[in-house]
């Protein structure tokens, strides 16, 4: 019961327009103190410390730094525009390039906050400058920034592996094809949309000859591409862990800016101040969310969820459909880690009893949880993009923009449900 009240109050207060992080934390303090007493908040230092010492999250500031360096030095703009022109000036070129860069970034990190914010910083200005339809631009960035959740390495797969007792390596392998399918769906969608509604994403004007274009592209695309390959390559070559690879990206971006003559100390100062702001914004949301989930779980709301899941009908297919729907709906409100820890342990014994392949089941859950980052009103990707977007971009614009991408994710989810043997290698 407390859980529902907590949601309702938080929801109303969020729409008031005060900062998301402090609204979460403040509402939690009020409800938590009334229901459980103020002493509950003696746990807050522990929870904050667990965020502080979570070294996997260190990738967040470093990728943001990389993104802001690429943006402030104009390298990102040149990368996206040149590659879009290379597509022959079709409409949606910048969006397609954004999706591809997002997928590459996803393959080097499992932290959604890092990718959404970096992509928002890198490619939103370019799309807006080229008169893109705002909702579409926002949708492309949120969706491609969230790919990090399913394309390995990914945090949710690591958590699910632990909770379900399935080797993480198996999950990583199984997630490759579904992740690539999402990328392909996004690209095809953009290309089709561009064909029929070119005014939503105007093509770049190509004045250069093919030859000039290639030379320009080589100059603009290759260096940032080398950067991205260095990040990925350092993981594959065992030089760095996925988290550490972000530092290679950050240092690499600075070296690139020196090579392109756009480096200056005052610019670096700007970049790091900007990085601090965006990073602190992301982590303040995480701290607010941990206060929220603390009150949620200590008030016993998890038993409510448990009762609900215990009441689900039996039979393999009804179970799967109900479980997926329930996770999707919960995902509108609760953070994915909470779902993984609260809901999955309840579903697991049922899934085992019904002889469901756990790797497949884990992939379904993780795709579903990926969607929860995008579903309004509580979608972390939405908050993060809002945090770095220009003030003129409204929350409702972002809400509107993600809808087609949520639908595509549901489509891919259905495909994986019905054709597991083709889509999952295990």
């Amino acid at each position: 019961m407390t859980g529902i009240v907590l949601f309702a109050i938080a929801l109303v207060c969020l729409f008031l327009g005060y900062s998301v992080a402090f609204t979460f934390a403040g509402v939690s303090l009020i409800v938590g103190t009334i229901v459980l007493g103020a002493d509950l908040f003696a746990f807050m230092p522990y929870r904050i410390m667990s965020i502080m010492e979570n070294t996997i999250l260190m990738a967040v500031p470093m990728f943001i730094f990389m993104g802001i360096v690429l943006q402030k030095t104009g390298l990102a703009e040149r990368l996206l525009e040149s590659s879009a022109k290379l597509f022959g000036g079709i409409s949606g070129g910048v969006a397609v390039s954004t999706i591809i860069v997002g997928a590459l970034l996803a393959a080097s990190t499992g932290v959604v906050g890092a990718s959404v914010v970096a992509m928002g910083v890198i490619s939103l200005p370019v799309m807006l400058k080229n008169n893109y339809h705002q909702p579409t631009a926002a949708g492309v960035i949120c969706a491609s920034g969230t790919l990090g959740q399913i394309i390995p390495p990914s945090i949710i797969l690591i958590i699910l592996g632990d909770v379900m007792g399935v080797p993480v390596g198996d999950l990583f392998r199984a997630a490759v094809i579904p992740g690539m399918m999402l990328v392909i769906f996004y690209i095809v969608y953009i290309l089709i949309l561009g064909k029929f509604k070119p005014e939503l994403m105007p093509p770049l004007v190509v004045t250069e000859s093919k030859r000039e274009l290639l030379v320009q592209a080589l100059k603009d695309i290759v260096p940032p591409l080398v950067l991205i390959l260095a990040v990925l390559g350092s993981i594959f070559a065992g030089i760095a862990t996925p988290t550490e690879s972000a530092a290679i990206g950050a240092v690499g971006a600075v070296i690139l800016s020196i090579c392109y003559g756009s480096f200056s100390f005052s610019k670096m100062h700007e970049v790091s101040k900007e990085t601090v702001k965006v990073t602190s914004m992301v982590f303040a949301v995480l701290i607010g969310a941990t206060a929220f989930s603390m009150v949620f779980s200590y008030s016993g709301s998890e038993y409510l969820i448990e009762d609900f899941f215990m009441g689900l009908p039996g039979g393999k297919w009804t179970f799967i459909i109900f479980a997926m729907l329930a996770i999707l709906i919960l995902g509108f409100f609760i953070d994915f880690i909470e779902i993984a820890f609260l809901v999955v342990p309840i579903l697991l014994p049922v899934a085992i009893a019904l002889d469901i392949n756990l790797v497949w089941f884990a992939i379904l859950i993780s795709m579903n949880l990926q969607t929860s980052f995008l579903t309004p009103p509580f979608g972390f990707s939405l908050f993060y993009l809002k945090g770095v977007a220009p003030k003129s971009m409204k929350t409702t614009t972002i809400y509107k923009g993600v809808i087609p991408f949520i639908l595509m994710q549901i489509m891919v989810l259905l495909l994986v449900i019905f054709f597991p043997e083709h889509l999952i290698i295990s």
Binding site: G26, P45, T55, A247, F283, F383, T395
Partner: protein, 173 residues
């Protein structure tokens, strides 16, 4: 009031600059550790732990700076339609009802938390790890202290907005 604003603003700006420094140091720290491990086969757990100490201090102190810069994300569906005065009221309400109480509560409990580690002389349990765990724990109360300062700063800014003659435009601050 203006002179108070000036002082709080200066302090928090200095904090922001300090965070930028921590940020750069952290990246260099991680990069250095990668290079040393891969090319020189040398690992220092102390240096590895320093990475997250810098990271933690950077974003925790940065929360105050971000508040002063008004860069914490909002759901602006209604907020944007409000006049500057009404927005100021939202911010006063939010500061006093949401931000200030939780920050004070965290400050209160994290002092005990820090003191406990100090009293036990807690350090890292890993070979070559960093001593004085209370130092990194003290980031929480210190960050809360600066956050209170930033909240006061923002409150004064709102009061100033309310006390200047009516605005006709929206979205100020």
């Amino acid at each position: 009031m203006d002179s108070v604003l000036k002082i709080t603003g200066k302090i928090i700006d200095a904090l922001g600059n300090f965070c930028s420094l921590l940020m750069v140091l952290m990246i260099m720290n991680v990069f250095y550790d990668v290079i040393m491990r891969y090319f020189f086969n040398d690992v220092s757990i102390g240096m590895q732990e320093l990475e997250w100490h810098l990271f933690a201090a950077m974003f925790m102190f940065g929360i105050a700076y971000t508040m002063k810069e008004d860069a914490h994300v909002r759901v602006d569906v209604f907020y944007d339609t409000l006049s500057a005065n009404k927005q100021a009221w939202v911010n006063i309400f939010g500061s006093l009802v949401f931000a200030l109480p939780i920050t004070l509560v965290i400050f209160y409990y994290s002092c005990d938390y820090t003191f406990d580690a100090y009293q036990m002389g807690e350090g890292s349990a890993d070979p070559g790890g960093l001593p004085h765990r209370w130092l990194v724990r003290s980031v929480i109360p210190i960050a809360s202290f600066f956050l209170v300062l930033a909240i006061i700063h923002v409150l004064l800014v709102q009061v100033k907005i309310l006390s200047t003659p009516a605005h006709s435009e929206t979205g100020a601050q």
